[in-house]
């Protein structure tokens, strides 16, 4: 049995009980920031291109876009390559790995008369439910075809649940073209 040690709560002295000193300290901090803002010396005034009236960015007039780091994880999206081939072959590994089960894929066969018939398989439907997506990037990591990437898209809004589901067309629109990837389906394949 563990020994129970009783601790005594520290007693407040008269000054502390009045709270006036603490209030004054707080007011000083606010005042300091107010002076900095008015004089244009607040934190992030230049770096974040803020209005100069504080560290708050004036969204949506001002945007994050130019300040996003390379590793930023925005909306997951599908990409095409130099040859305008849709890279996804609907192997459904992202659907399998997705922790919140946001991805739903319906695979289909590529018809024999298609330019890329040798790839045999592509998604007929590819839906990502953005109300579920947690931007973890596991889909990007698991993809064996370098087809899905988390892009710098962060403005995802909608007025209904259906609006928040990105379908295949929307995903390719966000993803766009990505060059310099491994060309697995080359002429030798």
């Amino acid at each position: 049995m563990a020994e129970v040690k009783k601790l005594k709560r520290p007693e407040l002295n008269t000054g502390e009980k009045l709270y006036l000193i603490a209030l004054a300290k707080g007011a000083m901090v606010t005042l300091k920031h107010a002076v900095k803002s008015v004089t244009g010396k607040s934190r992030g005034a230049t770096g974040l291109n803020s209005s100069g009236l504080g560290i708050t960015m004036q969204f949506p007039e001002q945007r994050w876009d130019d300040f996003l780091p390379e590793y930023y994880r925005g909306a997951p999206a599908l990409v095409t390559d130099e040859q305008d081939r849709e890279r996804c072959v609907s192997c459904q590994l992202c659907e399998f790995i997705c922790p919140p089960k946001a991805i739903k894929i319906i695979p289909a066969e590529i018809p024999a008369d298609d330019e890329w018939a040798k790839v045999e398989k592509r998604p007929k439907e590819f839906d990502i439910d953005m109300t579920r997506c947690i931007y973890c990037g596991m889909c990007e990591e698991v993809c064996p075809e370098q087809a899905i990437y988390l892009r710098k898209e962060y403005l995802i809004t909608g007025t209904s649940r259906e609006d928040m589901v990105h379908n295949k067309a929307k995903l390719y629109e966000i993803g766009g073209k990505r060059v310099g990837l491994v060309n697995k389906w080359n002429e030798l394949k």
Binding site: V89, S90, C91, Q92, L93, E95, F96, P107, A108, E109, K118, V119, E120, K121, P144, E145, K184, L188, K189
Partner: protein
């Protein structure tokens, strides 16, 4: 003093008395039957040996070389020398410097097998490297991914990286070799399982190898197609993604699918199956090993029959006909209407058309219902076809033997003509049809049905009977319910529920129970299928002591009908001839 010394018996003598031999596997001595294949002996010792071409139901050509293990025997003695035995009574093993294949060699007395160690590890790594040299990087688009031996053994025994810098050999891809099977030659590892299956089991040798060396290609006979009704078994046999199903092609990755053990209900053989589902959809049905029913095979026609229960014509709600049109209602009203309508008739005026597609539990409740309403006319519908000399039975009803036992009749379908006559002469005025289409299956004419004053039917589909019925009660298909059936050889087998019935459709036995309870006004004492199984076990002598758990996944022999399954007889013959392991 006596000369006889009481020498203790050696392990080899003790084993020989029982027809066994002593084998040392990975350092442990076990006893296995004489003539056992080395790979089977390793399996008994729980030392798994990876293999591709070996299959216990097929001959062993030993061509994939994946099952190489290290083997040793006692060294051959010099002339006149006596064998020496160690403390345990075994001779010392002289290990051979070269590996041997475990699939086609049999064990011998005092043999040693090593399934681990440097030699075996290097051998497997080498074999994997050769197998993967020309293998395409198709896993993302390959239907076999997830259940592919090449993937599994590549992870377990492969070297991880390819040293091959030349271009891979190109072979035909996406080849149409049959109506139900697709071939990808680049993925093929030339194990020849499919070739042997078509020759030895399906008796339709249309597959073979052409070309030589790295260009060896699996091909179909130029004038033929792989169109045998057993062709799809090659898909299950194929350890890689060379042979894939056209029906299942790109439908779903296997790792999403849930497996449910069940049985096939398209003929009296009752092949053991696995139903593969995701959510509430069936994606495929594959055969499951049962050496007393279907070995490991299944006819294609039965395998693809599950599509019938996934159509848009499924009934989802109970309906009552009013002024010539069916109106959707709820179960309570439909059941009350049924029992009220049945009470309008004398017992002799009611006929029940039951079905040998019903489970034993449903048949039992059908019989109970007949007793309660006082009906004397009760019959199943015969469904005869042609036997194919392999697995398909001439009787296409899955539970004819069950109907015989439950109804205690030699031919439960004999009363069908009497019901037809009764309808024509007006002695029968009401029909309860359970799961059978009266027009297409039972052969009633539209005029005969028009003569009936009341038709109540349970059905899964919107067919002609449902159209003619006054009360339509939607029921469940084979994949949506549990139950038991007795197959053609008298084996009691179990159906398991893989998916939910669509809409408000109910389990068949629940519908029958509700009608009975509503008719009699008694309180319910049957809440689960197990409750009926218990009652059947108590009332019908043949079922004495039967419970669902006793039946298990492999079934139990309930009675001896004397009927045999031709494919199994052929297989037994081949095991006796020592062509296959079985």
């Amino acid at each position: 003093m006596s000369d006889t010394v009481d020498t203790p018996k050696l392990p080899k003598d003790l084993a020989a008395e029982k027809g066994l031999v002593n084998v040392q596997i990975d350092g442990h001595w076990i006893q296995v039957p004489r003539g056992t294949r080395m790979i089977e002996a390793c399996r008994m010792a729980e030392a798994q040996v990876p293999h591709y071409c070996y299959h216990p139901k097929l001959s062993s050509p030993g061509n994939c070389r994946m099952c190489l293990v290290q083997m040793g025997m006692p060294p051959r003695l010099a002339p006149g020398a006596e064998p020496t035995f160690n403390d345990e009574g075994f001779q010392d093993i002289g290990w051979m410097p070269r590996p041997v294949i475990a699939c086609a060699n049999t064990v011998g007395e005092n043999m040693g097998i090593r399934t681990q160690g440097d030699l075996v590890k290097k051998t497997r790594e080498g074999v994997m490297e050769f197998l993967l040299i020309n293998h395409p990087l198709d896993c993302p688009i390959c239907d076999q991914a997830g259940e592919c031996s090449l993937q599994e053994f590549s992870v377990e025994h492969g070297r991880g990286q390819s040293r091959f810098i030349d271009d891979k050999v190109k072979k035909p891809k996406n080849v149409d070799i049959g109506p139900r099977v697709n071939l990808d030659d680049e993925r093929c590892i030339m194990c020849s399982r499919c070739v042997r299956f078509m020759e030895e089991v399906a008796d339709d040798p249309v597959l073979g190898f052409t070309e030589r060396g790295t260009h060896t290609t699996l091909s179909c006979h130029p004038d033929r197609k792989l169109d045998s009704n057993y062709g799809m078994n090659t898909i299950d046999l194929c350890p890689v993604g060379a042979l894939t199903s056209k029906d299942f092609r790109f439908q779903m990755r296997v790792w999403f699918l849930k497996e449910t053990n069940s049985i096939d209900t398209n003929c009296a053989t009752g092949c053991n199956t696995t139903i593969w589902t995701r959510g509430n959809e069936i994606y495929r049905v594959t055969p499951r090993l049962n050496n007393d029913v279907n070995s490991e095979w299944m006819p294609d026609s039965h395998r693809l029959a599950f599509h019938e229960v996934q159509g848009d014509d499924r009934l989802t709600d109970p309906m009552i006909k009013a002024d010539g049109t069916h109106e959707v209602t709820n179960w309570q009203i439909a059941i009350e209407a049924t029992s009220d309508a049945l009470k309008q008739f004398e017992g002799s005026e009611i006929a029940i058309v039951a079905s040998a597609r019903q489970t034993n539990e449903e048949l039992f409740l059908t019989k109970t219902l007949a007793g309660i309403v006082g009906s004397k006319s009760i019959s199943t519908v015969p469904r005869m076809g042609e036997a194919d000399g392999k697995l398909i039975s001439a009787d296409r009803n899955p539970n004819s033997n069950g109907a015989k036992l439950i109804f205690a009749q030699d031919d439960p379908s004999s009363g069908l003509d009497t019901i037809k006559v009764g309808l024509s002469n007006g002695s029968i005025k009401a029909i309860i049809a359970l799961g059978e289409d009266l027009i297409d299956d039972a052969g009633f004419s539209h005029d005969e049905l028009a003569a009936a004053e009341l038709i109540v039917s349970t059905n899964i589909k919107a067919n002609a009977t449902a159209q003619a019925s006054d009360i339509v009660l939607p029921s469940s298909s084979f994949a949506e319910k549990r139950g038991t059936m007795v197959n053609v050889t008298g084996r009691l087998q179990r159906l398991n529920q893989a998916v939910q019935a669509p809409g408000n459709a109910h389990d068949d036995w629940e519908i029958l129970r509700d009608i009975i309870l509503n008719y009699t006004g008694e309180a319910n004492d049957m809440y689960m299928l197990e409750d009926i199984v218990k009652v059947i076990a108590q009332t019908i002598p043949a079922f004495e002591g039967v419970t669902l758990s006793k039946i298990g996944d492999q079934g139990i022999q309930l009675l001896e009908t004397g009927v045999t399954i031709p494919l199994l007889e052929k297989e037994k013959q081949r095991v006796e001839n020592r062509e296959i392991v079985g």
